[in-house]
Each structure stands twice: as structure tokens, then as C-alpha cells.
């Protein structure tokens, strides 16, 4: 199934205008490109839109009127923005829940138990399948490809944050915390720092000076 439903099936807002915070970001972004190459700003501006929508409506997505606004700003045809926005799965072209649960199910994560993470997500949110949102509108579950954090598999990306080394119960705990409005610290959910071994360092424990 296409990740982007036909445009006519989505309720679109009537208008979109950048707020002050976004304008500040846009100015910084466009300063990076020569004026006649400002079309390069398409990708970053799509992020700006998605963030602003999240701030304003609680749903991080890119409505079509916002794409039109980007096209106007960058002086490109609107279709060129539609193409970019729909090419990258990181842009949501339809409304999503407040929390975007993005489960990696690629090989490493799958071997390390991503099936349990998926099941836990469904259980904790009541969502029955990928691409759907929970009845309370809080969560949207999406299946994603390798997030590039295989060493800490399995991964659940919530909005922009990676929660790593998950299993079923810890996933449920995480979702419950989100539901309470908390944002647990991203990173490994087990006792380790970044990708270091669980429980602390196991190699190179001596200092070189001692060895000498």
C-alpha cells in the first residue's frame, strides 16, 4: 500500500503560515544557499513545517497548503515540493498522533526481538497495524527500515528520539510514560552507555601507564 494516501482523502487545513519561530529557522536555512539555488531549501523547510505543525496542532505532518507555501517561498513549482515531501518517509503527508512510534524491523532489530517491540506497541496503544493511529489520537505506529543504530537493536524511534535495547515490557513502560506526558531520557533502556557493553566497560580497563 502506498504510504501516501491520495490527497483527496485527507482533510487539509485551508491555509498555512509560518510562525515567528519558523521564520527564524528559515532565515538561517536560506542563508546557506545562493539566492538562485534556494530550491535546495526544500528539505529543511519541510522539516520546519512539520515541527511547526507539531507545535501548533500536536500532529507533526506537512499539509499540502504548507507545501504550496514552501514552493512560493523557494520559487519552484508546487509539484517539485510534493515530489520531495512524498519521496522521504520522514515527512508525514497526513496527520499523525502526538507521538510517532517508528519501529525498526530490519534484520538486526528483528533478530534482537523487534517483533516483541511491535507487539508491545500494539498492545499498549490499541493500534492494530502499521500506518494506523490509536483511538485517542496520541500514537501513530510506523514500520521503518534500519535506523542505523543496529548495535543497540531493537530500536523504537519516538518522534526524533531513539529508544534502544528494548524488549516488550520496557516498550510498554515507555509508552505508558509518554501517555503520562513524560519524555524518558532517550538512549539505551538497559544499563549501558551508548553502545558500550552492558554493565560497564570490559576491555581496555587498565590505563596504558600501568602496563608500561
Amino acid at each position: 500500500m502506498s504510504a501516501h494516501s491520495p490527497i483527496d482523502q485527507i482533510e487539509q487545513p485551508a491555509s498555512f503560515a509560518f510562525d515567528a519561530e519558523s521564520e527564524e529557522q528559515i532565515a538561517a536555512i536560506l542563508a546557506k544557499y545562493p539566492p538562485e539555488r534556494k530550491a535546495s531549501g526544500t528539505l529543511p523547510l519541510l522539516y520546519v513545517v512539520q515541527k511547526q505543525m507539531s507545535r501548533q496542532t500536536g500532529s507533526a505532518w506537512v499539509p499540502r497548503v504548507a507545501m504550496d507555501e514552501i514552493a512560493r517561498r523557494l520559487e519552484v513549482a508546487p509539484i517539485r515540493v510534493y515530489e520531495v515531501a512524498t519521496f522521504y518517509l520522514m515527512f508525514n503527508t497526513r496527520p499523525i498522533g502526538r507521538y510517532h512510534l517508528q519501529v525498526c524491523t530490519t534484520t538486526s532489530c528483528w533478530l534482537r526481538g523487534s517483533d516483541d517491540v511491535v507487539a508491545a506497541c500494539k498492545k499498549a496503544t490499541g493500534i492494530s497495524g502499521f500506518g494506523q493511529s490509536s483511538a485517542d489520537g496520541l500514537f501513530t505506529l510506523t514500520e521503518v527500515e534500519c535506523l542505523g543504530a543496529c548495535a543497540n537493536a531493537p530500536i523504537l524511534q519516538v518522534d526524533d528520539d531513539f529508544y534502544e535495547d528494548l524488549d516488550g515490557p520496557r516498550t510498554i513502560e515507555l509508552i505508558e510514560a509518554l501517555r503520562r506526558g513524560e519524555r524518558p531520557t532517550p538512549g539505551p533502556t538497559i544499563d549501558r552507555m551508548n553502545s558500550a557493553p552492558e554493565g560497564g566497560r570490559r576491555t581496555l580497563t587498565d590505563s596504558p601507564a600501568k602496563q608500561g
Partner: protein
């Protein structure tokens, strides 16, 4: 030049050519989908694979530049296998629904599958299906058939200048769409149908109408504008089912405007198929003989100068000359081919034709458009302007507009002002665009009928010429002065002098009671209320439009599809069309009607065959002798058109506001009517 060997044949090709072009130069046909010589190279279908000696793998020849001494092999086992593999991939998701596909019989995919397709598929999985898209009333989509060659996207973006199509999503989910389900806003959208190599984009009005092998093809000329687009009329039985463009690089390349393509369904609606005479205020069907007698009776005793004739926009040169000769025989100086009231200086052809030529636009380096909207008046010519604009790159082809501000002309143009005062400012050097014109080596000026259909037309024409002369637009080897016509018949009419003779009345003069008997040869583009209430009107034409309703006698004539005719386009290029079908019922070719009538009134016109008539055309003006070609005119020694008088300050107005409803044929066409409702009067659609 680079020397390349293709399958042992040595060819010389220009630097920067692609391997595909080299293969073609060697006479080798290379299969292709995405490559199109008038579009940018995408290189995404891979059908054009060839082998280049010492290259590690087959290369896509359309995007592979040649190098000195390169050896290309087009018919090796590796090449064949590679193409077969590409074809297998293309067919994975293709529905193979040829029996219900309108492209069947003229489909590149079908043809190439014949050469490279397997007799079975190894693909067991479900095929993808793509939802059809709405692109408006002209282009039908069956997007599951799309092979994603992106030709349509490139055509819309590059040629038509309406970047509305794109490819959204990616991989398996990629779809060609405009994303917004709105009608394409191009007057050239029909060309998408030709450019799509498969049956994804087909003609909506022509859907499920005929198979290409059932059709008889006749060369013709599009009369919906004055470009003279070369077309082919496709006929089954007695019906013209479609019009498609023929290639003519000097005129239309391979494009055709939507009005010319899709108005053909108007050829069979509201036709006049028998003579009528008004008796006691009511039109009655009569025989030809009775109709002629009725006219003859009415003419009896009417002095020549109380008789007049106006020729319309779609007329062929033959019938116009017959009309002119008839009027001369009747002693009438009241003839006119300018029903829109335009005024020209006819003392030299350079004053009323498109001197730069259409192909010549590609050499120009600055352009000023005065009182014209080429996008609407001549879409195919407008595509040439856009082509030049793109080729010249950023700022390389500055364009200035004087006239009503309009929707996107499809190129960057600066609106200099709306009325003739800007011309004066340009000549005084008061306007900065004057510098642009002066700095250009080959500037060109286009004067349209927004400027030429006003009382001050002659003064504007003269000052536009003067500006051209002053800015170096007219010189040895370059003629940058252009009149853009919009009526297919106009230049031929002017060439034969179908304008009021000594003491004769113009179209407007004839209408307002200036004559007692008025012969309208397909002239419909005016309000019939203008015609004096006591004027006896003879309407000779093919459609029951407004003028026929006002007529006292109706003589049913032939459309451009039903006669062999000579047309002169805005450049002054004489072209000939052939008869595709017979006129309906008792309708006859127009020159024959005039010839037959002349006998009734005892002024038999001196030609019995169309050949004799054409011989007479060539004596009237030798330009009619050269068909298809165009001699370069050296305008540098010309004094310029004369014309004084006051220039009004009124802004230039567009010559029409509905592109889809400009002549009797398109007003009778259901398709054009729908286009008009969707594009020009969208609010009424929403209200329905």
C-alpha cells in the same frame, strides 16, 4: 565531428552527440521509451542499451556521449539479452491489457515487446495497481499502464511550461501525477497523449472510438489559429475521428494546440447540410437551384457598390479568390477578409507577416510583444518562444510585454505597460527596455491583433516598425518585425488583396447598412446585430452559428477537412491541405459553390477545376506558387508601413477571452465546450 563505428559502419557525428544519435546516423534503430529528441535526457528506462567495446557492461545509449574512435555494437547477444531483461522488468507491473487499451496498435511498449518480450512471465507475485489521475477533460489516464519514463513530466515542464506533473512517492509506490487532481492548465496538453509511449495517457474524447489500423490518414492544416500546424486527419467512414500533428520543424515541430486537436468533434455537430432560403421570415429548405435563383433575383438591379462580401477566419485561399472574383464581376469594390476590423499596410508583405519566421525565433536574443498573448493566440508558436527562452538560459532572452497582464506566458517576461504609450517611451529611450533591445544583436518585435484591431492600428504598426528599425531589429540577414495573426485565412486574404477596393467599404462599413446584399463566406466573429436590418444576408459556410441564423439564404459549404485548400500561415508560408471526408448532405466545396452561382448570374468565373483556380491564385500573387517553403525577405531597405494619425492611450485588450470558443467549429464541439466550462468559466461548474 567525432568518428564512431557502429556495427562496423563508420559515421561522423557532432561532438557531444549521444551514442544513440550515432547509432541512428548509422541507420540502426535503437529501442527506447524515455528518450525523446525534443526533451531532456532522463536515461531511466534502460531500453536503449548497447554495447560499447571495452566498456565493462552495456550502456544506456541515449545518455552516453560519444568519443573519438568509439566502437558501438547494437546487435550482439549481450545487447539482446540486456534488452530482453529490461523488457521483462518493465512488464512486471504492466497490466498487459492491450485488448482494452486505446494505445493498442500504436504503442511503443507493444512494438518493442514484440521484439524483446518473452512469451511468458516468470513473475508470480501480485502486480501493483495505480489509481487513475484526473488531468482534465482532454487527457485520460490509466496509470497502472505507466512505465514511469517521465516523458510527460518533462514535456509539461520543458515544452508546455506548466510544471504540474511530477513523480510522487518512490520505488514500488512511485506514481506519476499532478498530486492535486486538477485539470492541466496547458493549451498544449493533448501532446501528452502523443508523447506517452504507452497507454497511460490517452485522449479522453477519443476513448474507445477506433483502432489505428481502421483509420485513413489525410494530410491537413490546422485552421484553428494562424500557425499553420501540419496535421493528419484520421478518418473512419465519413467521420473525422481525430487530428494528430505531423512533424514540420519549420512550423510546429511535432506539437499541436489543443483547439486544433480536440475541436474535430465539432465537425459533425450543427452542420449546414442543405441550402435554405428565408421566406416570410422563416427559413425553408430548398434546392441549390432555388437558392441561387433567390439570390439572383435579389441581386437583380442592385448596383455593384451596394453589394459586399466578407470572408471569415477559416477560409481557404481558393474560395476567397473565387469570392473576390465574383464580387469584381458583380462590380463590387466592397470586399474584406478582416471581420475583426484589423488594419494593415499591404504595400509590402513584410508589414503584415511574421518576418522572423517561427524557427527564426530560436536565433533571436530579445523579444518585445505588443498587444498579443501568444500563449492563447498561437500556443505552438508560444512553445517556440519558450524553447528559445530556455535555451538562452538565465537572462539570455529578455522578453518585454506591452498589453493586458495575463496569466503566466510560460516564460519570464517583464510587463512594460498596457498601452501604446510604452512604444513611444521605448522609441524615446525613456524606457529602460529600449536599452535591452538596442543591446541585442537579433531583437524581435511581435505585434498582435490586440494592437491591430483598434482605430489607431496603422499608427501603432508604423511606430512598432520604426522601433524595430531603430533598435537594429531590421537589417541585412535579420528581420525582427513580426505580425502575429490569429485567423488561418488572413494572410492569404491579404496576399490576394481581399480588402476593399477603390471607394469600397470595409467589413464594418458593409455591416452598418453600407450594402444591400451581404455575402458572408464563413464570417461569424461579430455580433450579427451590427448588420443593418434591411441588409439581405447570404451566409455561405459550414456551421449553423450566429451569422447563419441571421441569413436570408444559407449555402452549405465545406469545412477544412472536406476540401483541399491552400492556407497561408502567419509567417507567409503557403501550405496545402487535402480532403479527408466528403461534405455532409448537399454541402459542397466553397469555391465550387461560388463558381456555380457565378454561372447563374451570367458572370461565369474562368475556372472549372481547382487546378485552374490555383493557377489563377498564382497569377494574382506569385507567393501562392511556392508550397511549404518560405523565402527570406530582406526588409532592411523598406521604408516601413505608413500610418499617421493619433494614437489613443487606451490599453491593449486581449483579442478573445475564451481560447476554446473562437470559431464556429469549436463552438460546435462538445469537447471545446467542456474545456470552456472547466478552464474559462470554472465558477459555473462549481455552482452546478
Amino acid at each position: 565531428m567525432v568518428k564512431v563505428t557502429v556495427d562496423g559502419i563508420v559515421v561522423d557525428v557532432p561532438n557531444g552527440s549521444s551514442a544513440l544519435q550515432a547509432c541512428e546516423a548509422a541507420g540502426k534503430e535503437i529501442p527506447r521509451f524515455c528518450f525523446h529528441e525534443r526533451l531532456s535526457v532522463a536515461g531511466n528506462c534502460r531500453m536503449c542499451l548497447v554495447q560499447v567495446v571495452r566498456a565493462p557492461k552495456p550502456v544506456a545509449s541515449c545518455g552516453f556521449p560519444v568519443a573519438e574512435g568509439m566502437e558501438i555494437l547494437t546487435d550482439t547477444e549481450i545487447v539482446r539479452k540486456a534488452r530482453r531483461a529490461v523488457m521483462e522488468f518493465l512488464l512486471i507491473n504492466h497490466p498487459l491489457d492491450c485488448p482494452i487499451c486505446d494505445q493498442g496498435g500504436e504503442c511503443d511498449l507493444q512494438d518493442q515487446a514484440f521484439g524483446y518480450g518473452a512469451d511468458h512471465s516468470r513473475y508470480q507475485e501480485a502486480k501493483r495497481a495505480v489509481k487513475d489521475k484526473y488531468l482534465g477533460p482532454l487527457v485520460k489516464t490509466v496509470m497502472t499502464r505507466c512505465i514511469q519514463c517521465t516523458r510527460c513530466i518533462r514535456f509539461a515542464t520543458e515544452i508546455a511550461g506548466v510544471p504540474e506533473l511530477g513523480a510522487v512517492s518512490r520505488g514500488e509506490n512511485m506514481e506519476v501525477t499532478n498530486y492535486v487532481e486538477k485539470a492541466l492548465t496547458s493549451e498544449l496538453s493533448g501532446n501528452l497523449i502523443d508523447i506517452c509511449p504507452v497507454g497511460a495517457l490517452t485522449s479522453k474524447p477519443y476513448a474507445f472510438t477506433a483502432r489505428p489500423w481502421e483509420l485513413k490518414r489525410t494530410d491537413s492544416i490546422d485552421v484553428s489559429d494562424a500557425v499553420g500546424t501540419n496535421i493528419s486527419l484520421h478518418v473512419r467512414g465519413s467521420a473525422v475521428l481525430r487530428a494528430v500533428p505531423r512533424v514540420n520543424d519549420a512550423v510546429n515541430e511535432e506539437w499541436l494546440a489543443d483547439k486544433g486537436r480536440f475541436s474535430v468533434d465539432g465537425l459533425k455537430h450543427r452542420r449546414l447540410d442543405r441550402p435554405w432560403v428565408r421566406v416570410h421570415g422563416k427559413l425553408q429548405a430548398v434546392s441549390w437551384q432555388d437558392a441561387f435563383v433567390a439570390i439572383g433575383r435579389r441581386l437583380d438591379g442592385v448596383p455593384g457598390d451596394r453589394i459586399g462580401a466578407i470572408a471569415g477566419d477559416l477560409c481557404d485561399a481558393e474560395s476567397m479568390l473565387a469570392l473576390k472574383d465574383l464580387m469584381t464581376a458583380l462590380g463590387s469594390p466592397n470586399i474584406d477578409c478582416r471581420q475583426d476590423g484589423a488594419d494593415y499596410d499591404l504595400s509590402h508583405r513584410a508589414y503584415y507577416t511574421f518576418g522572423t519566421t517561427i524557427a527564426g525565433i530560436e536565433d533571436a536574443d530579445a523579444l518585445l510583444i505588443v498587444g498579443s498573448i501568444p500563449r492563447q493566440e498561437a500556443p505552438v508558436l508560444n512553445a517556440r518562444i519558450r524553447k528559445r527562452f530556455l535555451a538562452a538560459g538565465r537572462g539570455g532572452f529578455p522578453i518585454g510585454l506591452i498589453g493586458a497582464p495575463t496569466a503566466d506566458p510560460t516564460y519570464k517576461a517583464e510587463l512594460l505597460g498596457e498601452g501604446p504609450e510604452v512604444l513611444a517611451a521605448l522609441r524615446d529611450g525613456m524606457h529602460p527596455f529600449a536599452e535591452v533591445l538596442k543591446a541585442a544583436k537579433k531583437p524581435m518585435i511581435i505585434v498582435g491583433h490586440g494592437a491591430l484591431t483598434r482605430p489607431d492600428a496603422r499608427a501603432i504598426l508604423a511606430s512598432a516598425w520604426a522601433l524595430a528599425a531603430e533598435t537594429g531589429a531590421i537589417g541585412a540577414g535579420w528581420n525582427g518585425f513580426n505580425v502575429l495573426h490569429r485567423a488561418a485565412s488572413r494572410v492569404a486574404g491579404l496576399d490576394m488583396g481581399l480588402v476593399p477596393g477603390k471607394g469600397g467599404r470595409s467589413a464594418a462599413g458593409m455591416m452598418s447598412g453600407g450594402v444591400d446584399v451581404l455575402w458572408l463566406l464563413g464570417a461569424d466573429e461579430f455580433h450579427t446585430a451590427q448588420i443593418g436590418p434591411d441588409t439581405f444576408v447570404i451566409y455561405q459556410g459550414h456551421h449553423g452559428d450566429a451569422a447563419a441564423a441571421r441569413a436570408d439564404v444559407i449555402l452549405p459549404g465545406a469545412t477544412y477537412a472536406e476540401k483541399s485548400g491552400t492556407y497561408v500561415n502567419t509567417e507567409g508560408r503557403v501550405q496545402r491541405s487535402f480532403r479527408a471526408v466528403m461534405p455532409p448532405g448537399e454541402a459542397r466545396e466553397d469555391w465550387r459553390i461560388l463558381r456555380a452561382f457565378s454561372e447563374v448570374v451570367g458572370h461565369t468565373l474562368p475556372y472549372d477545376t481547382v487546378e485552374m483556380l490555383r493557377e489563377r491564385l498564382a497569377t494574382v500573387n506569385p507567393v501562392f506558387r511556392v508550397i511549404g517553403g518560405l523565402d527570406a525577405v530582406d526588409a532592411s531597405a523598406l521604408p516601413g508601413p505608413t500610418g499617421g494619425g493619433a494614437v489613443s492611450s487606451a490599453p491593449f485588450r486581449p483579442v478573445f477571452d475564451d481560447y476554446y470558443q473562437t470559431d464556429p467549429i469549436c463552438r460546435a464541439s462538445p469537447t471545446m465546450g467542456e474545456c470552456s466550462r472547466i478552464y474559462v468559466h470554472p465558477r459555473t461548474v462549481a455552482a452546478e
